[in-house]
């Protein structure tokens, strides 16, 4: 099997990945920064450090358009100059993304180019909308959910309107860290 496409997302126990009213200038929504406190431990030898190092060892990035723009397009370099595939519905004429980023409008094409770019390394994926698109297309292999011990109460959900087909998962790793539980799931292919 080729290297997996793995979604990395911080989520509150009640399912939110950003607070209410996420927009430019308030990228994580109101109080959404709470979901990323665990990154204070990203340089530690503990599990949060381990998960962070694994994320930065990926060989390509897939991002939704919204996430890409909210992140200031990462100035064209997410980490180590690996390819960034940005899944979007529409590309304006003359809008060329910076650095190693490129726009892709087809979900299968996006996954294929990311895998090719990553070689034998995993592909990191960001963004709720794009994740749902890959899930629906059966192209998402794994999820690393940083389950944060808070009820945010409102905001943007990671899983919304996936539709009536349910998706079976397999829990393959649990890492308990300060403030967060890192859960790795493998997505089971539908028979």
């Amino acid at each position: 099997m080729s290297a997996p496409i793995r979604l990395y997302m911080s989520m509150s126990l009640d399912g939110f990945i950003a607070g209410p009213d996420d927009r430019t200038g308030q990228e994580l929504g109101r109080d959404g920064g709470r979901l990323f406190n665990w990154l204070d431990d990203r340089m530690s030898d503990g599990p949060s450090g381990q998960v962070y190092r694994e994320a930065l060892a990926t060989g390509a990035v897939i991002s939704g358009r919204r996430t890409f723009e909210l992140a200031g397009r990462w100035q064209g370099d997410h980490h180590d100059g690996v390819p960034i595939l940005v899944l979007t519905h529409h590309v304006d004429d003359g809008d060329v993304p910076p650095g190693s980023a490129q726009f892709v409008t087809d979900v299968a094409d996006c996954a294929e180019r990311a895998r090719a770019g990553a070689g034998d390394r995993a592909v990191m994926m960001h963004g709720a909308g794009a994740a749902q698109a890959l899930l629906r297309a059966g192209l998402l292999d794994e999820m690393e959910i940083h389950l944060v011990q808070v009820l945010l109460g409102g905001g943007r959900r990671l899983f919304d309107a996936l539709g009536p087909d349910h998706t079976e998962l397999e829990l393959v790793r649990v890492l308990e860290a300060r403030d967060v539980t890192h859960l790795r799931y493998r997505v089971r292919r539908r028979p």
Binding site: G15, G153, P164, H166, L171, E176
Partner: protein
């Protein structure tokens, strides 16, 4: 000291029942998948017992609680377990309007608020914990700051649609502290204590 403990099985995408949950089909479409960790018992609660050690640990704790608080919707769906959830402990139901007819067993309707309902259940339970069931009632308890512990059976499944456990809680954060995580293929049992500001 008695604590109010919410026991709910939830999919990773936050659902506790599939769509179309009715009295005839209390867990909704595909929702029974959420309760597979309980094993396959008979018609009553006591007929179940999970097949793995983490599941049994949680289940045995649940079955040793000294009172039950359930939402009216959940209660009516299951006919209040015939008046006996387990060991004949009293079942408390917060409600705005108590039903006219008598109910079997020890089912008590409490109309003077959720905090009072929980206080009465804790008194009845003595030094044992109180079991809480029901999404809406759990949200009421969180808003009233009377829910002490969340015991979530996180099922490795994206249900896609249905009834959510946490919905419309409002803008205030509620901090939790993970005190236990028990892993099994059927469900990850996460226990959180609620830390109100």
């Amino acid at each position: 000291m008695s604590r109010l403990v919410l026991y709910m099985s939830m999919s990773l995408d936050g659902f506790i029942a599939g769509p179309g949950d009715t009295k005839e089909n209390p867990l909704g479409t595909e929702g029974d998948r959420l309760h597979e960790w309980l094993g396959h018992g008979g018609g009553d609660v006591g007929g179940f017992r999970p097949g793995d050690e983490p599941g049994r640990t949680v289940f045995d704790e649940l079955m040793s609680t000294g009172a039950v608080v359930t939402g009216r919707r959940t209660g009516e769906f299951v006919d209040y377990w015939g008046g006996d959830h387990h060991d004949g402990v009293p079942i408390f139901v917060p409600t705005h309007r108590a039903p006219a007819g008598p109910l079997p067993g020890d089912v008590r309707f409490v109309a003077d608020g959720i905090a009072s309902c929980v206080a009465q259940a804790k008194t009845a339970a003595g030094d044992r914990d109180v079991l809480l069931h029901g999404a809406y009632t759990a949200q009421e308890c969180l808003r009233a700051r009377v829910l002490d512990v969340l015991e979530i059976q996180l099922v490795p499944l994206l249900l896609g649609q249905g009834r959510r456990l946490f919905d419309g809680l409002g803008p205030e954060h509620i901090e939790l502290e993970r005190v236990r995580a028990l892993e099994s293929p059927a469900a990850l049992h996460l226990r959180y204590e609620v830390r109100y500001p």
